[in-house]
């Protein structure tokens, strides 16, 4: 019902490193702070000090546990999730009023709150659950990629990145043009095997995730890398140790 641009000049987006994200929620709250005070309606909180507090957030961190079948230790992956600014964004095409749109210049998917009627179709259409209805304002809220930061001439140039990227303590969030093969984010995706979230949905997300590296390899099963028991090294009792010590001291 609302059309997408044929192509965008740039494909601005996030690259999120799942090997590095410690699940601290810094991005969640920094986003909440910036986007309460800035673009569009504030992110409200219902029953803020009550029994069922519920507010709108544009970015949330979920944690998943994987229990491998080979009996090796379970692993936890912290998974920050916000709008992926898809190239084939179903949330845009489903919008009955044109409020949801994808910007032609940078590919950012935005909601024009003046035109939003709060019907919620877009949230239903998004396979990632990345949109949230603000219950106080009655409009749909979503990640803006901090469109009011990244070009903001009132900010120092180094701060013209989304709030979540600027604040991430572990440096697990990267921002840039994923349409430019030479950009730092594109190279990172190539080097680290970045992947699309749920590619089978055909949404062609711009945001990419970097996979966790393999874990728990030092289990003594493989060939020893630096065998401590090599005969020339030390000793298994004090007398042997003292003999080694004398030899070793001669060398220093």
């Amino acid at each position: 019902m609302t059309s997408l641009p044929q192509s965008t000049e740039r494909k601005m987006g996030l690259v999120i490193d799942l090997d590095t994200c410690v699940g601290c929620h810094a991005c969640v709250i920094s986003c909440k702070g910036w986007n309460t005070e800035n673009y569009g309606a504030p992110l409200s909180d219902t029953d803020a000090y009550g029994a069922e507090p519920s507010g709108s957030f544009l970015n949330r961190v979920h944690s998943f546990e994987i229990e491998p079948e080979d009996n090796s230790p379970a692993q936890i992956v912290h998974f920050p999730k916000s709008c992926l600014h898809c190239e084939d964004a179903p949330c845009v095409t489903v919008c009955p009023t044109g409020a949801s749109y994808k910007r032609a210049e940078d590919g950012i998917v935005l909601v024009n709150e003046d035109a939003c009627i709060g019907c919620g179709l877009c949230a239903w259409a998004c396979p990632y659950g990345a949109r949230e209805m603000d219950s106080a304002a009655g409009v749909m809220k979503k990640c803006t990629l901090c469109v009011d930061r990244i070009y903001n001439e009132n900010l120092p140039e180094e701060d013209r990145v989304p709030a979540c990227v600027r604040t991430c303590p572990a440096g697990a969030r990267h921002f840039g043009d994923l349409g430019d093969r030479e950009s730092a984010v594109s190279q990172l995706v190539t080097e680290r095997g970045g992947f699309d979230l749920m590619p089978e949905m055909g949404t062609r997300p711009v945001n990419k995730y970097l996979p966790p590296r393999p874990k728990d390899r030092l289990n003594g099963a493989g060939p020893r890398s630096a065998p401590l028991a090599s005969p020339s090294a030390g000793a298994t009792d004090a007398q042997g140790f003292f003999a080694w010590l004398d030899r070793a001291l001669e060398k220093i």
Binding site: E37, A74, A136, L228
Partner: protein, 929 residues
């Protein structure tokens, strides 16, 4: 459709005010964006040495703290019974009058009747100065129930520990091993560091029963059984020593490895000046350890003596420390322990770093390069909050030292004013007289039995029994014992309990229900057993209801503070740094910064040091003190912009100092010269720089202590040597645990709790997005952590037939709780755990009584007693490390059984009255509208 026109350059704020965060103890720099005079947005300060622009969830949520409905509004006097929460608002004049009256009477008769303990205080150099002027021996902050084992073991062993004392060389480390960290400590620097390591492919090994947070991203996770870290570390030492993978050159030059220990006394061989002696490899003769050009021999043969390294070989090469012998207990397979030891050795010795930086050591020898061993360690609460925590922390420091990875490139680096040998620290003081200051600083580092805080009849001088035979090296006091001891009148009753920022009737106490009963207990006359309680907090915490007089503090954005080099500074390995807080907004309530209130009370009581000879106050408030107080001539709370603004470290007070800090972004940094960047304890350029900064008055190079002679002195006392003798019932314990070389023994809980009845260990961790109790009132953070399940490992989950949504009764020898459970596969198979301090009492923190924090949140504290079970000897044995008195929170053992789902967690306490009412229903606001 055409795209809407957007303003992509909206105005961000009217002004940015730069101050220091206080949403946890990390002390990051923050930019507070102001609109219309109000706080609009908080972000990290890019120039700040701690956080370099990043900020955690708590820090960004600070705006909701300064807006919190739980903020106290005015001084309060209790009008209902203790615990009712019924108060009347009074004026500051009246509040100061009441407090001044109570305190003056105590000071004029017996100052020890005041117990002044200051919780998570960041102004300890000031609060201790106040307590010393008052004259009570009963002062400490929260270190005793937090991480004193880590701090004390580090200072005694090598002149500094982790966190404020030092950091990994994030730039050069190739292998980072992280033990048992509670997830908040040094939070942003660790996250930033891990990010840097990951970005260049360096590896992280996590040792923690729980795989979450940092351990979730660690390349290797060792899900160790709680309380066995020391055994695991000693096994690594066994592997490394038996393979000869230790840095002999480093050990010989910079540690006590070559010192000669007398076979009979266990004390070091010394010359007539008291200087320790070594055998010089060049001459074969005895020589003072620090003589120019001496080459100490760690394998020396000297009749009647052995070197420290020889003693270590005899101990740690024993088969009892072999991986195969410890694997079952530690819950880590022996091949994996060997593989980890291999990896440590490989990186330390095969990936050696050489920096082309010349330096000169304290023996006058010039070195053309700096050799680095790129293995770095970090640890915190997890390994230290056990009754074997001190020895465990010692073992970890000894491991680092054996590898030669302390104060070298790629290893662990001290942050100024550390390194600082134990000899540069005070000993404890406890002599008290009416109307007189104490005879010296309360807290310190004992060198032997002669420094214990005992009265003439040998009984404890302090209410918390710090520095007694029960826990001789309790350098941070035992805050967790104060209420219990005061209630029991053991060693004596007190008159007034004065607390700051410590939620002692809830999450900061063991045995929470028992503590509540102690605070409200009355004697035969109907008077409270603890007669008077004064409390200062900024928020309506659970503790407020139990005080008689409330002195409301400001929030952190409304106050002056100094993050001082005299205290717990924010330095980096390559720079000294300190910082301030200043009121970026003025309070809209009748509240005052607690430190200013202490100054006003001191002025009222005319305390020495606070008034001049004519009894006129020296300082009107804390800001005045920060600028004008001199600890020694020229040395004050802040090191930057002294004198005319151009002096650093030493210099006259500068009336413009705070303004200069504000202009500089709220902090000050002074870089260490490049050639002084490593080997600091022995590096003469560093030593001279430190003297210039005022850290000490003359260079004091020293050796690391693999062997702690101080501990041997206590052991000897237990063997019957010396004037000051321990009571007989403690001799056995002292002989066993005061071992001068690291040992491992099972946590004390295992002595009295049958592992068959209580097969599981129970732990808490603090979440990264919540700090202690403060976060629960924060409308944003409580949506991340509003309640807490008990996490259960896979085997236990299956065995008990748990399903999602189930509840369990969890029991210890002390009590039981009923709580929701959740599965956590990445967990030591004998361990359950939960998030710390999420559970809240109904009525506190301006929350609805049905808040999930109160109905589905819970505290593990109810299962932990501050005392060990009675032994039939009539004595009260504290549940603490017997060396330092650190609260042994993590010794806890429990059993678990499935129960029917409940409406609320148990125990449920009646709601307390709120002096601030409830928060608003919904929040929808922009500061700019």
């Amino acid at each position: 459709m055409t795209q809407p026109q957007l303003d992509t350059s909206p105005k961000v704020s009217d002004e940015v005010r730069k101050t220091t965060c206080y949403m946890c103890a990390c002390r990051c720099g923050i930019n507070v964006h102001m609109k219309d005079g109000r706080v609009a947005y908080i972000e990290g300060n890019r120039d700040h040495p701690v956080n370099r622009g990043v900020l955690c969830a708590k820090g960004s949520a600070g705006i909701m703290q300064v807006n919190a409905p739980s903020r106290l509004r005015a001084p309060l006097r209790r009008v209902g019974p203790r615990g009712s929460g019924e108060f009347e608002e009074i004026s500051w004049e009246e509040a100061l009058g009441i407090a001044g009256d109570w305190l003056s009477r105590i000071r004029g008769t017996d100052p020890s009747k005041l117990a002044f303990f200051t919780g998570r205080d960041q102004s300890q150099s000031f609060t201790s100065f106040w307590a010393q002027a008052f004259g009570t021996p009963n002062y400490a902050a929260h270190g005793g129930f937090c991480s004193v084992n880590m701090a004390t073991a580090g200072i005694y062993t090598m002149g500094g520990a982790f966190w404020e004392f030092g950091q990994p060389d994030w730039e050069r480390t190739r292998l980072f091993m992280l033990f048992g960290v509670a997830e908040d400590h040094d939070s942003n620097p660790i996250k930033m560091g891990i990010g840097r390591l990951k970005a260049r492919g360096a590896r992280v090994i996590g040792v923690n029963p729980i795989r979450s947070g940092y351990n979730a991203v660690a390349d290797e996770w060792l899900g160790i059984t709680p309380g066995t870290d020391g055994l695991f570390i000693l096994s690594l030492i066994h592997c490394l020593m038996s393979a000869g993978k230790i840095d002999l050159n480093y050990l010989a030059r910079y540690t006590d490895a070559p010192l000669l220990v007398d076979d009979e006394t266990g004390l070091f061989l010394r010359d007539s000046d008291g200087k320790t002696l070594v055998i010089d490899r060049a001459t074969g003769e005895l020589a003072p350890f620090d003589r120019k050009a001496v080459r100490p021999d760690p394998n020396a043969r000297h009749p009647g003596h052995q070197t420290v390294l020889q003693l270590m070989a005899k101990r740690y090469l024993c088969p009892e420390y072999a991986p195969e012998a410890v694997a079952g207990r530690c819950g880590i397979p022996a091949p994996r322990i060997r593989a980890i030891a291999d990896e440590i050795a490989r990186v330390a010795f095969e990936e050696e770093i050489t920096l082309n930086r010349a330096w000169t050591d304290f023996r006058g020898e010039r070195h053309e390069t700096m050799t680095g061993r790129p293995v770095a360690f970090h640890a915190m609460r997890g390994i230290s909050a056990h009754s074997n925590g001190f020895q465990t922390c010692r073992a970890l420091h000894v491991l680092q030292i054996l590898l030669g990875s302390v104060e070298v490139p790629g290893g662990f680096r001290f942050k100024p004013p550390y390194p600082k040998p134990v000899e540069a620290h005070p000993v404890p003081h406890c002599k008290t007289q009416p109307d007189c200051p104490l005879d010296g600083p309360h807290l310190g580092f004992v060198r032997g039995p002669e420094d214990l805080a005992l009265t003439e009849d040998g009984t404890p001088a302090r209410i918390d029994k710090a520095f007694t035979w029960e826990n001789p090296m309790s350098a941070h006091g035992l805050m967790h014992m104060v209420i219990s001891n005061a209630h029991a009148g053991d060693p004596y009753p007190i008159d007034t309990l004065f607390l700051y920022m410590a939620n002692m009737s809830w999450n900061s106490s063991m045995n929470t229900r028992g503590v509540i009963e102690m605070l409200t207990d009355t004697d035969e006359n109907g008077d409270y057993v603890i007669p008077r309680i004064i409390y200062s907090d900024a928020y309506s915490s659970e503790m407020v209801a139990y005080a008689d007089l409330i002195l409301p503090d400001t929030t952190y954005l409304e106050r002056h503070d100094c993050i001082s080099l005299l205290d717990r500074p924010i330095c980096e390995a390559e720079a000294a740094a300190d910082a301030i807080r200043w009121p970026v907004v003025e309070p809209d309530r009748d509240v005052r910064g607690f430190q200013t209130v202490l100054i006003q009370l001191a002025n009222l009581m005319e305390l020495p040091g606070f008034v001049d000879e004519g009894k006129a106050p020296k300082w009107r408030d804390y800001a005045d003190y920060i600028v004008n107080h001199e600890r020694k001539p020229g040395i004050g709370p802040l090191a930057g912009f002294r004198g005319n603004g151009d002096q650093t470290g030493r210099g006259a007070p500068n009336p413009d100092q705070l303004q200069r800090y504000i202009e500089n972004g709220g902090f000050f940094v002074n870089h260490i010269p490049g050639e002084a960047g490593f080997y600091k304890p022995w590096n003469m350029v560093y030593q001279d720089w430190a003297v210039g900064m005022g850290f000490y008055d003359k260079p004091q190079p020293y050796l690391f202590n693999l062997y702690l002679e101080t501990m041997r002195k206590f052991q000897r006392a237990a063997e019957g040597h010396g004037e000051r003798q321990p009571p007989d019932h403690l001799r056995g314990q002292l002989r066993r645990i005061m071992d001068p070389l690291p040992i491992w023994y099972p946590p004390f809980e295992d002595d009295h709790t049958d592992p068959a009845d209580y097969p599981l260990h129970a732990l808490t961790q603090r979440p990264m997005a919540m700090y202690h109790s403060w976060g629960s009132q924060n409308a944003w953070l409580r949506q991340i952590h509003g309640h807490n399940p008990l996490y259960v490992p896979r085997d236990v989950w299956d065995r008990h037939g748990f399903q999602d949504g189930d509840w369990a009764r969890v029991s210890s020898v002390h009590g039981s709780i009923t709580v929701p459970v959740a599965l956590h596969g990445g967990l030591n198979a004998k361990t359950v755990w939960t998030w710390n301090a999420i559970g809240k009492r109904k009525g506190a923190w301006a929350l609805d009584p049905d808040a999930p924090e109160a109905t589905r949140g819970f505290l593990l504290n109810h299962l932990i007693h501050e005392l060990l079970p009675p032994r039939g000897d009539g004595l009260r044995w504290t549940n603490s490390d017997p060396i330092t008195g650190q609260a042994a929170w993590f010794d806890l053992r429990v059993s678990i059984e499935k129960v029917a789902p409940q409406a609320e967690t148990d125990p449920a306490f009646a709601a307390i009255g709120s002096p601030v009412g409830r928060g608003p229903k919904n929040l929808q606001w922009k500061v700019s509208e």
